[in-house]
Symmetry: C2
Subunit: 334 residues, 2 copies
C-alpha cells in the first residue's frame, strides 16, 4: 500500500480509501491510484486489516470426520452460507477425540475466528474454559453439550425413531430389534432410549432386543442370525445411523437373512438395493444452514437466551419395512 501511495504521489490513507471504496476521493485521483494498483499488482493484506479491525471474517467448522457424507453435507451447507455472507470457512477434524478437539478449538480461537460450528466429540461440558472465556459465539450441531444451555441444532431423534417403529408395526412387524452405534455417542443413546420408550408405549412383546456398537459386519452377522433363530425371532431391525445400516446390510447379505429394516440416515442408492431401504432422513443441509443462521445472528449482536433447535426428520418409505413373505406366517397373532 505504501508502494502504491508513493507511486501515485498520494498518502496511504488515500490508497486505503480507494481500495475500500470509501467516499471522499476525487475522481481523477481514484483513477490514478487504481491505475497504479493494477500496474504493480497490489493486493490488500487481509491479515493486517484483521489485526486492525478485530474481525476475521472467518468461521470454523469442527467435525469428527470430513469424509462422512453426513458431515460433508453439513460442511458444504456451512461453507455456502458463510461465503454468501463474505466469510471464509476453516474446516477442522477432531477425529472423535475430545483431547484433539480441545487443541483444535484453541488453535481456532488463537486465530480469532468470528464464530464456531461444532459437532462436539464426547460429552464435553459446555463450559470449556478456553472457548467460553474467549467469548467466541459457538453453535453445537448434531449433539448437545452438558452444562449451561448453548445454541444447539439437533435433529428430532425421538420423532425419527418413533416414525420408524410405527412404520414397521403398521406393516405387521411385532418383534423389532434396535442396532445402535457406540453408546458413547449421545445420538446413539438418545435413539436407543426413544426406541425403548416407543417399544413399551406400543406394548410390543418381549424384552426389547438392543445391541449397541461399535459394530462390524463380522459382529453383526452372528448377532442378526441369532436373533432371527430364537424361539421368538425378530422380524425387523432398526439401525441407528448410516454406518450401522451399511454394516447391517452387508451382514444380512452375508448370512442370507431376510428381515424388515428401517435405517437412520438416508444414503445414495438406498432405492436401488433389493429391497429398497426405508430410512429416517435427517437433512444435513438444513441443519448446517440453520446452524450458520443462528451463528450469524449472534455475530450481529443477538443476545437472546441460548436456544436449541430441533430439526424434523422425515420417513422415506421404500420397501424394506414390509413384512417379508417368509415371515408372514408368524403374523397370525392377536
Amino acid at each position: 500500500m505504501a508502494d502504491v501511495a508513493a507511486e501515485a504521489h498520494v498518502s496511504v490513507k488515500t490508497v486505503s480509501r480507494v481500495v475500500n471504496r470509501e467516499p471522499g476521493v476525487r475522481r481523477d485521483t481514484e483513477q490514478r491510484v487504481r491505475g497504479v494498483i493494477d500496474r504493480i499488482g497490489f493486493m490488500r493484506h487481509d491479515g493486517a486489516r484483521i489485526l486492525r479491525q478485530g474481525r476475521t471474517q472467518t468461521i470454523a467448522l469442527v467435525v469428527e470426520d470430513l469424509a462422512n457424507p453426513f458431515y460433508s453435507q453439513i460442511g458444504a451447507a456451512v461453507e455456502r452460507e458463510a461465503r454468501i455472507r463474505q466469510h471464509q470457512l476453516i474446516t477442522a477434524s477432531a477425529e472423535g477425540s475430545p483431547t484433539r478437539e480441545r487443541v483444535v478449538l484453541e488453535g481456532l480461537i488463537n486465530r480469532r475466528v468470528d464464530g464456531l460450528v461444532v459437532v462436539p466429540a464426547g460429552e464435553r461440558p459446555a463450559t470449556d474454559p478456553t472457548v467460553s472465556a474467549s467469548g467466541t459465539p459457538i453453535v453445537y450441531v448434531d449433539r448437545p453439550v452438558r452444562g449451561e444451555p448453548c445454541d444447539t441444532v439437533i435433529s428430532d431423534n425421538p420423532g425419527g425413531v418413533r416414525s420408524a417403529v410405527e412404520h414397521l408395526v403398521a406393516n405387521g412387524h411385532r418383534r423389532i430389534a434396535f442396532l445402535g452405534d457406540d453408546a458413547e455417542f449421545w445420538t446413539a443413546r438418545q435413539r436407543r432410549e426413544a426406541f425403548v420408550a416407543i417399544h413399551d408405549a406400543l406394548g410390543l412383546p418381549g424384552d426389547t432386543r438392543i445391541a449397541m456398537g461399535p459394530h462390524t459386519v463380522e459382529s453383526l452377522a452372528p448377532r442378526l442370525d441369532a436373533w432371527s433363530r430364537e424361539r421368538t425371532p425378530i422380524t425387523a431391525v432398526i439401525t441407528g445411523n448410516n454406518r450401522v445400516t451399511l454394516n447391517a446390510l452387508h451382514a444380512m447379505r452375508q448370512v442370507g437373512i431376510e428381515m424388515g429394516l428401517v435405517g437412520y440416515d438416508d444414503f445414495e442408492l438406498a432405492d436401488l438395493i433389493e429391497p429398497a431401504v426405508t430410512v429416517v432422513h435427517q437433512d444435513p443441509t438444513s441443519i448446517g444452514q440453520k446452524a450458520v443462521l443462528q451463528l450469524f445472528a449472534r455475530l450481529l449482536g443477538d443476545e437472546s437466551p441460548a436456544q436449541t433447535v430441533v430439526m424434523p426428520t422425515r420417513l422415506i418409505v421404500r420397501e424394506s419395512g414390509r413384512l417379508p413373505a417368509s415371515l408372514r406366517a408368524r403374523k397370525a397373532l392377536p
Copy 2:
C-alpha cells in the same frame, strides 16, 4: 500480552519468550508468567503473529462441491495432512464457476494462505494473473490447467478406462457404449478419448456409441433402451463417473434393462446392488495426500520443475461386468 507483562512485572518480550517456549527465562519468572497467563486467560493473537512472521500456517482447498464424496474424501485427506504439519485448512467451493473461482482465489490470496490445492473449474489457464503474481504455491488436482506446466495430481484415466474395457471384453462383451459426463470437464473428455482409442485398438465392432452429459435418469433411460434395441445392440456400458453411474443404474432399473456395466469411481454399497457393480476405483485419499505432499515440498523451498503425478487406478471386479445370461446368445460370433 501487554496485560500479562504488566501483571507479572516483566516486559512483553519475556512473556513472548514464555509463550513460545524460547530459552533464556529463569525458572521462577516463567512460573510467575504462566500463572498470570492462566489466571487472566491470555491467548496469543495469531493474527498479529502472522503479520509479523509472514507465514499464515494456512493452506486452502478449492473444489467444485464439498458434498460430492469424491471431493469430500480429498478434503478429509488434505485437512489431515495439513493438521499434521500444524497448518489449518480453509475450504472453499467455486461451484463449478470459473468466475466464482477467481473471486474465491483472490480472497484466499488476500489472506496470504501459504499454499493452494485446487480442483480447477473449467479450463482455466495456468497463468491466472492474480494467483501467479502472488507467488503462492499451487497444486492442481483431478484436472490439469492449460498453459505453462504446474504441479498437478491427476489419476490415470486412460489406464482406468482401458481396464474397464478389457474386463468387459474378457467377459465376452463386444458391443460396449460409453456414457461420459459433460464434455466441458477435462476428465470426461479424457476418458472418452481413451475409450475411443481402446475401442479401436481392440478392434471392437461397429461405430463407437458414445453419449456425453449432462445426463439425467430421464435422458438416460430412453438412450439405453434405444441402444439395447438396435440391430446390433450393445451388451455393456461404461459410465464416466460416479454421478453418471448412479443415474444410469436408476435408468436401467426404471426401464428394466439388463446389461453389463463398469462404473468410474467406486461408491458405497456398490457391492450390495444386484448385480454388484464393478468399478474403476481412484483413491481420493491418496490423491489428496499426494497433493499436500507436493505443496509442502514447495513451501519448504523445493524449486524443481513443475511435475504432474499420475495416480494409478484399480479395477474392483464385482459382478456387473459379466455377460448377462439373456444376452449370451449373441456371443456366438467369431
